[in-house]
Symmetry: C3
Subunit: 463 residues, 3 copies
């Protein structure tokens, strides 16, 4: 088999002079703790701290970057993500498909995990799939490979989960009792109670009301319930809310119109247009609440979820069939920013999967409004060249201090160190180029590298 | 005169370490046969195999990349593309304008042709225009410079023409009889019978019906005629259809609405909005037919044709006044992909002249749906930096296997080898950077270079 | 303090081979005169030639690139741009914020000015703010630091100001009398009299009429007044008009509709939609007038001005809260280009802050229509990487000759040499890469570098 090893200079620029600088900058950040203030690791699994079951369940099935690539080349979803499958068979499919990942960040992360976590030294393939499976399964069974143990091994200083507004936070209570208070923290994600045309919206809203101890039969009770659940999350250590809206629209509605749409939602008669208007209105309200309770507002707009209904119906969401659309922030955020953009207590972190807005809209906004930070490259853009293009497009207008530093945003727990490591390498390479082009002193680049890897993510959220 | 020569390292990356790798990768593909499965070489001219008449008719007049540049700097179209002009005068204008092409792919292709085909060793200019003209004219008169002879000299394994749905395919019959069956093949291009508000639509539809032997007085007859002509093309060796739509919209219409618009088209009363809706509906129907007959659906949307009416009226289409507009694929393709995106027999190749969709829409779509391949950079983007940006934007999400490999898409027959050669150099350079950054093994890059140059175009079309 | 010095290779490519070529190309342009045919230096201040008052008023307060960055990190606008502030306090805030500018062009320009104009050799910071203030203030008091003296020191061959259509041109008369005729010239900027829903529009239109000696109570008088003021500007040496429209729309209106909207504007009842339609119509009319009087039409569309009303109300316009939006040119310019795009006497220079249109729309348009030149990267894009991306996106379709060469477009007088110098370095780097990749001869690159720095800006405007 072809050997597998991690080159110490991987993802650093090829030009020897720039690489030499990049090596020095990377060395200053490689050992820093990981600040993970937005992600999708499951809180209940952390609290239960059960072992990972097998290689396929760890590295393939829950990773939509991986399953989508296999599906795109003809593997059927029912061979990968259906219940009752033999994990070894899934793993064999994955190993045989290894060449598909050439040039992708998945390949980069997976290599890092295979080598660093499991001591694998050969490239996956059809021939060695079973051997690799056995090797990884053996490691997974060890006690030091439980999630909470990995937290220390990975050097994770703080880890935020993302939790629905209707989460009762018992997993976080349990983690707090086990000594993780302030280290594993929740994030308030209200999407399920925001779009009143969503199937299940009313049930979720009712649950929200019960958890908050508030009558949600009317709009004002609903707003009150949202406010109280935000407080409960904040009391459990949350630093932020997260909003996965279709667009960045923040136009507020007149109170009576909001009430009318809310009422329509409760009778199941809200139209899609009403639902969109209500969601925009809610985003405006969330900013107002952020000014009150200090939670940082994270906005992740612009993804058309479940592009293929059949995949969603058969296998559920997050199966790789979420596709970006063009984004617009300048006009969409204006109502919110007119109202709260200069509030000293308000902080908003903006993410996008449409990189055309980096230079055109997001950097100009983040380079003007004190409340805005520009989030790290998200999802499809969280990749070597994607991160490089982000710095090239955003820095000249927004500088570094108006960006959030690295945010891993992953549900693949074992990939967290690989993702932070890659981001540190790419930022080192970008900064090294500025130094080599005499646009920045190496002392300044050194300080900035540490800002991007460690200080800025903390400053963006832990204010 | 300044000397003209082709440097062996041209279009490879400048950094010596990366260049050394790129040289090795390029060497593995430089001699591979050319797979030309989409282009605009004229079938009748191939079948007749008449000699090229003169340098201006070969290299200037039919090449809208060239004429548009001259016009943009003040040469009048009636000096270039009007009937009855002295080809030597056209050639002189072209040579005197040589500096205009600095930094353009036309310059790159033309240099390749001048040196490789005609043995020219001096840069074109006002002073040597006549000498070059005579030299080229002398070569063009040789029998080995006929089109079919060049097919061998160029190493073209297979060449697809693009032919209107109303083409009777006699040229291809003649070519088949001459031994080119399966080597020179047609492509079914129905645009002229798709937009029912186009002048001449009814005449073209009637011709389609006659060729198909079907009554096209109603919509169902029309659909049947389309289906039969597709079969006739497939029987003549066609592997694909091609669709130059204004947008990528694929929303199907209810049957009765399609019938109504068809009927309106026949009486000349279809509105532009109806015509757009009908075209979108037809694209959906074409996908359905592709599932049946196996023809690959190529989509080339997003160009506003004949931006200047006066140029079109005086000199016809394809004169350089086609200008791109912003493209949208995520929502536009959703109806088609919901219906056929997972059909095992369906294949669609997507092209764009709006590169903002590479990372945002096309790579996410191609990296999920098994039916999609992402076509090569098209038209204005078929250029050294354009091709490099394509790989950088698309690979991290779609990988390599979800791209089509190189597609030359040219009407300039003599430029075909230059275009393939340039693409192979750019891909070698991109892959070399991945190797130099330790993101890919050189053995993998070697295999991938051959995929992109040869295996993937065959796999995309010849399934 | 950390030392401050300008490296001779700054902003040149890092790779040694490419840098060596770039050095030679840059050397050929470094000493060329500055052609400044679009900018915002104040004509009255030039005519009065009063000394600059203090470092804060020279380098901080009027520079929205600088103040916006400070505000984005929590400095309150009333600490920076309110009347009556102590300039030394402003300067201290600025120096303490120096690290914010890392990676931005402001940092690059400011370094150039601090070193070259004021002989500063230490990085600004909280500790040395007062020392730097005193040093700069001492220099500013010298007679050789008056604006007109700097004109010679900077090597400015010609400088265009931008002046409202209602400007009486007395400053330019005074400058002409002082020997600057043809060297300091006005530019006709009619924006204030174009949007009939703008507060103050009627007063400005009335003033326009008085200056033109024309009755503007009706639309035809208004058009006549515009035409006469254009002539007055041309007589005072103007070469161009400038238009800061919301969009690039150029759809003409029927005469009676234009009259109706004009009348509505005069009674204060024009709707926003009418105002947009009128502005588009006016752009069409301006092109017609350009054909008559030869003034070059500069278009700067796509910025949402005064994104935050509160900032605008408290501190006025141009405070850093102008945010770009997505631009569209292909359809928007079509009416104008159908009518005037091939007129021999017509010239239009197009600017954008949405770089997605470079390759998609602007280069294809500029590479076809003889009337179009593609302007230099504007505003947020006038930066090292922004300028590099512009050349990479535009050149392959438009070539070099269809671009305007460098346009500094600044209101920061002292930054003019820095901006031209940076552009010359970036263009040298881009051309050097083409040479190193054997896509261009070094002799050609040498000639092109001089074109971009000097010949093309003159050719674009001084026809």
């Amino acid at each position: 088999m072809a050997p597998l090893a991690l080159h110490p200079d991987r993802a650093l620029p090829a030009e020897p002079g720039v690489r030499a600088i990049a090596r020095r900058l990377y060395a200053a950040t490689a050992g820093l703790p990981l600040v993970c203030l937005h992600g999708h690791v499951d809180a209940a699994e952390l609290a239960a701290d059960v072992p990972f079951t097998d290689p396929a369940q760890l590295l393939v099935v829950p990773d939509h970057y991986v399953t989508r690539m296999l599906v795109s080349q003809g593997v059927r979803p029912d061979q990968l993500v259906a219940p009752g499958l033999d994990p070894r068979e899934i793993w064999r499919l994955f190993c045989a498909s290894w060449p598909l990942f050439r040039g992708t960040p998945s390949r980069y992360w997976l290599e890092h995990e295979l080598v660093e976590l499991f001591g694998i030294d050969e490239r996956p393939g059809a021939d060695n799939a079973d051997r690799l499976y056995d090797r990884i399964a053996e490691v997974l069974a060890r006690p030091e490979f439980r999630r909470l143990a990995l937290l220390d091994r990975f050097g994770i200083e703080v880890l935020a989960t993302t939790d629905p507004a209707t989460c009762d936070l018992t997993a976080h209570e349990k983690l707090a009792a086990a000594g993780y208070r302030g280290r594993i923290i929740p994030t308030f994600r209200p999407d399920a109670v925001v779009y009143p045309d969503r199937p299940g919206w009313r049930a979720d809203v009712d649950l929200l009301g019960r958890l908050a101890g508030v009558d949600v039969s009317n709009y004002h009770g609903y707003l009150d319930a949202v406010r109280r659940r935000r407080r409960a999350f904040a009391d459990a250590g949350a630093l932020a809310t997260d909003h996965g809206h279709d667009t960045a629209d923040t136009t507020p509605l007149p109170d009576d119109e909001a009430e009318r749409i809310y009422a329509a939602g409760r009778t199941g008669s809200a139209t899609p247009a009403q639902a969109q208007a209500f969601a925009a209105h809610l985003l405006f309200q969330m900013a107002r609440m952020s000014c009150e309770d200090g939670l940082v507002l994270q906005l992740h707009p612009g993804v058309l979820r479940n592009h293929h209904d059949g995949i969603a119906a058969a296998y559920g969401p997050d199966r790789g069939f979420d596709i970006p659309v063009a984004a617009e922030f300048t006009r969409a955020l204006r109502p919110l920013l007119q109202a709260f953009g200069h509030e000293p207590g308000f902080r908003m972190v903006l993410f996008t999967v449409d990189e055309t807005v980096y230079a055109r809209e997001l950097a100009p906004l983040a380079g003007a409004y004190p409340s805005i930070r520009l989030g790290a490259p998200w999802w499809f853009l969280d990749s070597p060249d994607g991160m490089r293009r982000f710095r090239e497009a955003a820095t000249e207008t927004a500088g570094f201090a108006n960006t959030s530093g690295f945010v891993d945003d992953t549900r693949a727990f074992a990939s967290i160190p690989a993702r932070h490591d890659l981001a540190r390498r790419i930022d080192a390479g970008y900064l090294a180029r500025l130094v080599a082009e005499h646009r920045l002193g190496e002392d300044e680049a050194h300080e900035t590298a540490i800002d991007l890897a460690y200080r800025l993510p903390k400053a963006a959220y832990q204010r």
